[in-house]
């Protein structure tokens, strides 16, 4: 197969997929924008996101401050832009952690079965029995409200979903002919699992992960609302929304609206993308 045909099939495939799902495509573009912003954010922010200005506190949107300023006179636009990196980073960190842990625990449980499956299963059942948000609160309160701990707490409460997905997917493939063949071919179980089974469950896991991104962002926002967010003065959408929300009745709408829009767009974009990916990668469970 020549390069030419590869790229043309790819293109036609892509065209087909995009045509089938414009919303997912739009979400994809949005994601690229967010990622770009996360990378170059600090460079394009017009102001220092932590610099206070006593003379311009709670100023309404203007040419100088398109998103207005907050109670300490900090530029909301700059804070929203700079926060992108941290918010996406935290969500990515949490998702990556639970993805990795799920990719280890789930396949082991699903492939080997037996007592190890029981142990992992019970562990996950126990986690699932917790009221998840309160568990996250407890973990962050106990460990301290640093970025790392928020990421860890979010990863822990999301872990069950990954382990379950991975376990179910592996369980389903365990006895398929190609796995059987690999086993018969003299491969050791670990090798069969790592080389022949796990790669095939990745699509389902990726879907799970992208659906989980939005939830991770919302979780961090909720923690901020009850005072367990990242340390001030670090700009973070959840903290900005929950702080801004205290001005809702006094009319300084810009303090919560703009970070709110950023947050909602990010969550929406991940959720739509997750949805779309599920349709593309895993047509079986298309809903």
């Amino acid at each position: 197969m020549s390069d030419q045909t590869v790229s043309s099939t790819f293109l036609s495939d892509a065209r087909h997929l995009i045509g089938q799902n414009r919303i997912t495509f739009a979400a994809g573009i949005l994601l690229v924008l967010f990622v770009v912003l996360a990378i170059i954010g600090p460079l394009v922010a017009p102001f220092d996101p932590t610099a206070t200005d006593a003379s311009a506190s709670l100023a309404a949107p203007s040419w100088r401050h398109p998103f207005g300023t907050d109670a300490l006179g900090r530029d909301v636009l700059s804070r929203v832009i700079v926060a992108t990196r941290l918010d996406l980073g935290m969500a990515f960190g949490a998702v990556a952690l639970s993805f990795a842990a799920g990719l280890i625990l789930g396949p082991i449980a699903g492939y080997f079965g037996g007592w190890i499956d029981t142990v992992i299963g019970r562990f996950i059942d126990t986690l699932m029995a917790f009221p998840l948000f309160v568990l996250a609160m407890g973990i962050v309160a106990a460990l301290g409200n640093s970025v790392a701990n928020i990421v860890i707490a979010t990863a822990i409460i999301n872990l069950p979903f990954y382990v379950r997905t991975a376990r179910a997917e592996v369980n389903m493939r365990r006895d398929l002919t190609y796995v059987e063949a690999a086993r018969m071919g003299g491969n050791r179980p670990w090798r069969v699992l790592a080389v022949h089974v796990v790669p095939n469950i990745l699509p389902a896991m990726v879907v799970q992960a992208s659906l989980n991104f939005g939830w991770a962002i919302l979780n961090a926002a909720g923690l901020s609302f009850i005072g367990l967010g990242v340390r001030p003065p670090t700009p973070e959408w959840g903290i900005m929304v929950s702080e801004g929300a205290t001005y809702i009745f006094s009319g300084e709408w810009w303090t919560f609206t703009f970070p709110g829009i950023a947050l909602v767009l990010a969550v929406l974009c991940f959720n739509l993308l997750g949805d779309g990916l599920r349709d593309i990668l895993d047509p079986r469970s298309r809903t």
Binding site: D125, P131, L135, A221, G222, V264, N271, D275
Partner: protein, 340 residues
């Protein structure tokens, strides 16, 4: 008989989870910052008085013994005393649980009433504009932080438009006397007491919080409804029904919808337990006297007994709920058998 055995087996299989929850919560509560002895001893405490309180509370004993004490108390149905409310944790939780359950159920009803029609509608025209719009709408509903939606609702419908009642708990208790507690559900109790005005007040107070909460559940319900309907509509019996000349409406609402019940029921259990956990932040905004607000306060104030009690109760509740959903599923579809 088989049903009974199934239930028993399910209950037995939940025991390790419950034990795990007890251990983890105990350790987590101990890891919370703050020294309950110093807290108890108050503002004018001396090192001696703190030490005295510590030994009174048994906090100077080795962790393992403290755990043994805790488990011993649990076996007697004693969840300990909450420092912040000054009451027994069990009675706190029991008084507050109905408020949270009522709110969660109301949110679920909202999500069903809105989400199912959206799902059905989308399923009738898959891939169309309507389908995409529905999907966008429900996804958007789940993209807002719950506390944010709640505050915006209060601002818009109470503060500006004046069409929602004051965000002050479950009932306007200035004008209405709370009905005698029978079920703990305000809507039912006011009806039992025959107080229609109080019922209206209770209903009005339930609207905004349950919608703020229910928005979160729209997406899973609409999604699963759509998928189940698509499958059902494409199935042999629906095609047969159509071939037999039954009207589209009839097929949609009887055959197809009935066959979609099972997956909806399955997702409902998950959604309910999720919502029960998620109303933590909503309760704070609406001064809702439920267990969510109680739990937030307990974690923030390192109220060990309250945190432990709350988590334990929720865990038991989730396990019970999953059992109920499974049983209902097996009733709805006799093909479903659970061999755990």
């Amino acid at each position: 008989m088989t049903m009974l055995i199934t239930i028993l087996r399910r209950l037995l299989s939940a025991i390790p989870s419950v034990l795990g929850v007890i251990v983890v919560t105990f350790l987590l509560a101990r890891a919370l910052p703050g020294d309950p002895a110093a807290f108890y001893a108050g503002a004018s405490a001396t090192p001696e008085s703190i030490a005295e309180v510590r030994s009174q509370l048994g906090l100077d004993r080795p962790l393992l013994l403290q755990f043994a004490d805790y488990v011993g108390d649990l076996l007697h149905g004693d969840l300990g005393h909450s420092v912040s409310s000054g009451q027994a944790v069990l009675s706190d939780l029991l008084t507050r649980l109905p408020a949270s359950v009522e709110l969660t159920l109301a949110a679920l009803v909202f999500a069903l009433v809105v989400g199912m029609p959206l799902g059905v509608w989308a399923a009738t025209r898959p891939g169309s504009f309507v389908d995409h719009a529905c999907r966008l709408l429900v996804t958007l509903g789940a993209a807002f932080p719950t506390f944010f939606t709640a505050l915006v609702f209060v601002y818009a419908f109470y503060y500006r438009l004046d069409i929602a009642p004051e965000p002050l708990g479950r009932l306007n208790e200035i004008y209405f006397v709370a009905p005698p507690q029978v079920t703990g559900f305000m809507l039912i109790d006011t009806l039992l007491a025959g107080d229609m005005e109080a019922f209206r007040s209770a209903f009005g107070h339930l609207v905004l919080p349950s919608i703020s909460l229910g928005l979160f559940a729209l997406a899973p319900i609409a999604r699963v409804t759509r998928a189940a309907m698509l499958e059902a509509l494409g199935s042999d019996y629906c095609r047969t029904a159509r071939a037999m000349g039954l009207s589209g409406r009839h097929i949609l609402f009887t055959t197809a919808l009935r066959n979609a019940t099972l997956p909806i029921l399955n997702v409902l259990g998950m959604v309910f337990s999720f919502l029960l956990g998620a109303n933590v932040l909503i309760e704070k905004v609406f001064a809702w006297p439920g267990i969510g607000a109680y739990a937030v306060n307990a974690v923030i104030s390192s109220d060990y007994a309250a945190v432990q009690g709350f988590v334990l109760m929720m865990a038991l509740l989730f396990i019970f709920l999953n059992l109920v959903v499974d049983l209902m599923a097996s009733i709805a579809d006799p093909r479903v058998r659970y061999d755990v």
